[in-house]
Structure formats: structure tokens, C-alpha cells
Amino acid sequence: MGPYLFRKRDALLEYRVFVHFFLNGLATGTCYFLLAAGLNLIFGVLGIFNFAHGAFFMIGAYLSYQIIFWTDNFWLSILIVPLAVAGIGIIVERFLIRHTYRINVNFQLLLTFGLILVIEDLIRIIWGVHWCTVQEAEILRGVLQIMGGAYPIYNLFYTGVGALVFVSLWFFLNKTRYGKKVIAASSDRELANGLGINVPRLYTSVFGLGCALAGLMGVFHGPLVNINLDMGHHYILNAFAVVVIGGLGSIKGAYISALILGQLEAYFSIN
């Protein structure tokens, strides 16, 4: 976008473009945030280097494709997929990742990277290499007229979902007893253990929650893109960046930095 000379009759058109860009930025920001939200719990709070987080997101997307393929019910997949991905995450944490806590963190990197390979292959075996496409629920299809231009309703819904996830997570971490236990255990794991908090079980459940969030993103993101085997890779680095920029463990920080990054990409990205 080079410099513009605004002429009166084109002025409204330019404003509309900016508004649409802004809305796109919100949607892109939400996309970054959704993956970062779960990673914020797993990496920011628990300190687990989970490279496979993007792969869990991908499982969520493929599972939602399958459920919609069978039942044609978008809302049903919202219900089932996060639970399913959480279940997988809990098993992975309990039997694999838990063993890496007391040893060198490099093993965690290797393990989770290996997980990516295994997950991708399993998905390839089950669903094949072709792209899958998924459509959102009927009620969310179509466009809304914003400033005289058509804007997809689903983008707005997606942004709304992100805001809802943010508020719920923030409340959950900072205002509930369980959330405070998580904060306690993450700031001083040993002490929390000695004061009666079942730290191993807490880690498992938080990991499961993080994976549920990844799966949730898989459901909501599916209609926006072609579901393919590269999905995990595409977003995972951005997710780590958002978690770090926003401050490890800070859900507010993750949301704000995700939205800012989204806006930057909407206005300045060259692809």
C-alpha cells in the first residue's frame, strides 16, 4: 500500500477498506490467540516445551471434519472435539511427557517433536494426504453488509469466540480456586507439593485443558482454511512468539499481543 491521495468521492471507499482490514486483523489475531491460549497454559504456566501443540490443533481440525462428515452437525463437533483432544493430551502427558520433568529439557523438545511426526503419520494413514474441507453451521454462513461492503459473518463469529475464550480463561485462572492452585504450582512446584496440592495430577489436567483449547481451535478454524497436514507447522511458531511476547503465563498479555500481531499482519503483510 503506497501513499494515497484521498479524493472526496473515494473517501468512504477507503474508510470501508480500513474497517474491513481492521476486522480481518481481529480475526487473524484471534487465530494467533486461540493456539497461544492453550500453549500459554502448557508452556507459559507449566513450563512444558510442547512443540506438538500445533499437532493437537490439527487433530482437532481433522476430528471435526470427521464428525461433521458423519453428522453434518457443526455444534456437535464443538462439544466432542475438545473433550477428545483433551483425552489424548491427558494420556500423552501421563505416560510420556511426565517422565521428562526431572531431566534435561532437551528431552522434552525431542519427545514433543517426535510426537508431531507420529501424529502426522497417523493422520495421514487415517485421512490420507488430500485436503479436507469443512463448512460451518448454516446459521453462520453468508455475509453482513458493513459500510457498504460484504463481510463474512463467520469471521465475526470467530473473533467473538476468541474474546469469549479469553474472558473465560482469564476468569478461570485468576478467580477460581483451581486456577490459583495452578498459579501456585507453577510458581513453586515443590512447595505446592508439600502443602498438599496434588501437583502431578494438576499438571495432567492443565495439560489436558491446553490440548482441549487446541482442539477447540481446530473446530473453529476448520471452515476458514483447507484442513491439511501442514496446519500445525503453520501456526506453532507464531503461537510460541505470542506466548513469549505477552509474558509467560499471562493470558491478558497473550490476547493483547495476538491482536496486535493480527493487526500488523492485516495492514502490512505482503502475501
Binding site: R177, S187, N193, L195, G196
Partner: protein, 230 residues
């Protein structure tokens, strides 16, 4: 209530505890005295399950807890006040207490803690990292009470505190023991323990060298000179 039989604890290959035995009856307040590096903290941590002895047995109320995890031992009824206080930094004073709460009929609640330790109520919304050393120590002592323990383990409660605060902490601990709580305290400062404990063990280089009532230990200048930093 608590029986420690001849435990040997290692950190890696270092043989830290070389056959520690002690026992505590219900309602007693005892202390383990020794200088830095004698093995006091390791003894407390062994009892609390942070490090498991390679041989020997630790029994609490008849159950063998030698290899239990710390949170299981906490659930059994042992409260832990660690060295260096260790408050959860981003949680408020109130949250630090609530996070541990285990409700028992007629037992400790946040309200009761605030009544017994009024200072904590004044700072109840302050974050842990903004507390002074003395405030942190009071919170560190009060906090495990929320699990309604029957035995309280304290690791060097007077360390790093100004004399006036040491006196206050001593009085607070004495107050708590009046409720029938049993206490085991690891300390360097014998004078501090004099007013609170009835019996003491002298530990040095991982072994118990003497034990006896606080009065008789106090009189024995030789022991004090030999085993406790003056």
C-alpha cells in the same frame, strides 16, 4: 506419633544422613539443633517426602511414610514450613491461605487464622512478593495450618529475621502449640527453641550426638560449644 528409625539419606552419592533416629509423641514440641550443614534440613525433608531415605523407616501414626510423595504426607496430617519461607509470589496473602485449605469441622479457617495472626488480615490483599521478611515468615507459619495438620514441621523458622521478629515468631509458635499441635523444629538458634520446645536432639555431620530435655541441654556448655555455632 512420629518415629524415625535409623534413616540413611543420600543426595546423589553424598551420604548426608547417617543413621538418624528420633521420635515424637503426640502433643510434644521437640527440636533438632545443629549448625549449618549438619543435616537438619535434610532430616525435615526426608520426613516430608521430598527425598526418600535409602534405608531406615519413617512412621507417622503407625503408617510407613518413608516413600510417600510430599502431597500424600501433607494429606496424612503433617504441615510444612520450609526454610526461606517461600511464599507464592503472585498470589495475595488471602489466596496463599485459601489455596491450601482443607476443611475440617472446628478446625482452622481463614477467619480463624486472621484472628490468631491479626497482621495477616491487615495485609490480606497484598501480593506475596511485596511482603517484608517478617510478614512472610508469619504467613509461612500460618499457611500449613490451613490443612489442619496434627504435626507441624518447621525448618529454621528464625533464620534471617531481626531479633524482635524472632521473639514474635517464637511467641506465635508457642501460641499454636497450645491447641495441642505437635511440633518438630529444625533450628540453629538454641535460645529461640528454649521457650517453645521441651526436648531436643543435637545433630552434627548427619548423626545425632545427644538428646535430652531442653533444660539439661542448655546447661551443657561443652555440647553447645562443640555442636552449635555460637
Amino acid at each position: 506419633m512420629l518415629e524415625v528409625h535409623d534413616i540413611h539419606t543420600y543426595y546423589g552419592r553424598s551420604h548426608i544422613l547417617q543413621g538418624i533416629s528420633l521420635d515424637l509423641k503426640q502433643g510434644e514440641v521437640i527440636c533438632i539443633l545443629g549448625r549449618n550443614g549438619a543435616g537438619k534440613t535434610t532430616t525435615v525433608r526426608s520426613i516430608m517426602g521430598y527425598v526418600h531415605p535409602k534405608s531406615g523407616v519413617i512412621k507417622f501414626e503407625g503408617k510407613d511414610i518413608s516413600n510417600w510423595e510430599p502431597f500424600e504426607i501433607s494429606h496424612m496430617g503433617i504441615g510444612y514450613v520450609p526454610q526461606d519461607r517461600r511464599i507464592f509470589p503472585t498470589l495475595t496473602v488471602k489466596d496463599n491461605l485459601e489455596v491450601i485449605e482443607r476443611e475440617v469441622e472446628g478446625g482452622w479457617t481463614v477467619k480463624k487464622i486472621f484472628e490468631t495472626f491479626p497482621i495477616l488480615e491487615k495485609i490480606k490483599s497484598r501480593q506475596g512478593r511485596h511482603l517484608s521478611g517478617g510478614e512472610q515468615q508469619i504467613l509461612a507459619v500460618a499457611r500449613p495450618l490451613m490443612t489442619n495438620p496434627r504435626l507441624l514441621l518447621l525448618d529454621e523458622p528464625s533464620e534471617g529475621l531481626a531479633p524482635m521478629l524472632i521473639k514474635m515468631i517464637g511467641e506465635l509458635i508457642h501460641e499454636i502449640t497450645k491447641t495441642g499441635l505437635s511440633v518438630l523444629m529444625a533450628e540453629q538458634n538454641m535460645r529461640f527453641t528454649m521457650k517453645i520446645a521441651s526436648r531436643g536432639y543435637i545433630i552434627d555431620k548427619g548423626r545425632i550426638h545427644h538428646q535430652g530435655g531442653m533444660e539439661e541441654l542448655k546447661e551443657d556448655k561443652e555440647i553447645i560449644g562443640k555442636y552449635l555455632a555460637v
